[in-house]
């Protein structure tokens, strides 16, 4: 369960002054459901998800993840979260197995449990062929699988994906989307950000449209279709963000 309450993040820029990267965003994601955060580049998706994963601290507001407050108990939150993005790279000089084990240990798993978990995940994701290969020698697909194994090693109830398919080829991207679905089927709370409409249409139970750091629209796909009288998600998205986009451009 994730509950964002008035989550805000401001940055200071020498030229532009205060930038509200995320501005008073509230939403909730439920176990066994996928929440999709849809937005253009620079809309505030990454910053929102980084705050949920406690990599960044909110300037105002907070979020509760699995009953833990992101501001008050960030380490507890991280222990219950699996975070994956295209920016979360692997250590090049560790093997695939060492990479997963490292994160298992950091998550407090004892050696017996760790070994069991690693074997289980490597079998399930069909990774045994390259478990002793160094990460810098892996193909993109193998790297993605290792990253998935890394996020799953401590069996977190909440999964956060930040543009997980960005820049990936279609086959690797399908591994990721398949994995996201599997997380939902296993009852995990899933939130993921993207700017790819088709991914949202296929995967998400609830959609949040974000622009200029503000959550402008939220609902299931049928609810959004009805509200904006459009069938196509892209048209809905354009309808929602255009006024804000124009205002921003004018500024």
């Amino acid at each position: 369960m994730i509950e964002a309450r008035g989550l805000s993040k401001y940055f200071h820029d020498k030229k532009r002054g205060e930038i509200r990267a995320v501005d008073n965003v509230s939403f909730s994601c439920l176990p066994g459901k996928i929440y999709g955060l849809l937005g253009a580049n620079g809309a505030g998706k990454t910053t929102t998800l980084r705050m949920l994963a406690t990599i960044l601290e909110p300037t105002e507001g907070t979020a509760v993840v699995c009953g833990y407050d992101v501001v008050e108990a960030p380490e507890k939150v991280r222990a219950h979260v699996g975070f994956l993005s295209t920016a979360t790279a692997l250590y090049p000089r560790l093997t695939s197995q060492e990479m997963v084990e490292y994160f298992g240990r950091l998550n407090g798993l004892d050696e017996t449990t760790l070994k069991k978990r690693v074997d289980e995940i490597f079998n399930r994701l069909d990774m045994n062929g390259f478990r002793d290969r160094r990460c810098d020698k892996l193909s993109t697909g193998m790297k993605q699988k290792t990253s998935i194994a890394r996020t799953l090693v401590h069996d977190p109830p909440v999964m956060i994906f930040d543009e997980p398919t960005n820049g990936l080829d279609i086959m690797t991207a399908r591994t990721i989307t398949g994995f996201i679905r599997e997380c939902r089927n296993n009852g995990k709370t899933v939130i993921f950000s993207t700017h790819i409409m088709s991914e949202v249409e296929k995967l998400c139970d609830t959609i949040g449209i974000i622009q200029s750091g503000k959550l402008l629209a939220e609902g299931t796909l049928p609810q959004l279709r009805e509200k904006y009288s459009e069938r196509d998600l892209e048209e809905i998205f354009v309808k929602v963000v255009t006024p804000h986009y124009v205002a921003e451009e004018a500024r």
């Binding site: 601290e57 380490e75 920016a87 979360t88 790279a89 090049p92 000089r93 950091l106």
Partner: protein
Amino acid sequence: MSLRNIGIVYRKELTEALRDRRTLISTIVVPLFLFPVLSVGFGALAISLVGKAKQESPKVMIIGGEDSPGVMDGIRKLKTIEVVPTQPNWKDQVIDKKVRAVLEIPSGFQASVSAQQSATVNIYNYQGELKSELAVDKIEKYFKNYQDSVVKERLAAKNLPETVLKPFEIKQENVAPAEKVSGAAFGGIIGYMVILLCMTGAMYPAMDLTAGEKERGTMETILSSPISRMHLVLGKFLLVLTAALATAALSVLSMGLSFSVLSHYTGKSGGGNAAAAGLFLKLGPKAVMSVFLMAIPVAVLFSATLMTIALFAKTYKEAQSYLTPMTFVVIIPAVAAMLPGVELTSRLSLVPVLGVSLLCKELVTGTYHWNYIAIIFSSTCLYASVALFLAIKMFQRESVLFRS
């Protein structure tokens, strides 16, 4: 504070470091092999080149001297030089290094000497040029012997003893034990080496574990794990410290080994370097150990400072441009300590790096000024803790971790 978590990070960083060619080169290969190659190899080369130059018979021209057949004959018989026919452009030949020296004997030289009149012999040379100076030495040696024999003859003719000109002898004798002599000769350089190598050993891992991690995109991965940022930075810091101390330890070890090899092979033939090598070996393990103990807080200071600065950089290259000037900040006080006359005072002992360098100079001679040791050790520990505190604070700043 979870030692388990710090240990996990440290072990992982160590595994990666041991698989990284660049780290291995900077912490193991350079100190172990480059030093012997540079010092012993270069030293041996210098010895052999100088030796060869000494054995060569330099070409010398003689101007005048036709009316001094005895002197001319003596010079021609010298095996250490080769007299060649004089040419009018002798000056150019000296400059072009075709002839190493030109001797000018004034007319009527031998007659003037016999008549006990003053006379001057000129030797024209190429100042600062080794082979030319060696030629001058050889000619001078001949004339010195000639001068001595003339003086002896004159004294004998007047029935005077040699003590008229040499009423007493002057003799030097060393009373300091060998360890102290070695310390005085090598104290400065040992401290300098240990300090500088702590710095260079820490430099590469400090960049790799901070800016390098940002550049490779693993910073966000590790920050998403439950480990606290303090444990993370401490684990990383311990690896940088290990690299710093390992580099310094291996360097001193390889320096010791190189010198023992050098003194073994060149000991019989003698020579300055062999004597120096022998002196170095007389430094006790106690002296070297005490230098090392003092180096630990310095290594902590360097490791933490370098990490703090390198973390600010976005890329490895950017970190390099920030850290390179740091080398000079360290070299200057370390070199200052080697200057003659710069002695340990309570004010200087508080200057970071300089205090430790000066203390090392004393420690290797076996002198333990406990009050200075206490001041320097505790002040360096204080600077080191401040640096470590800053490194931890830096790791908690989003503007630094996610600088764009």
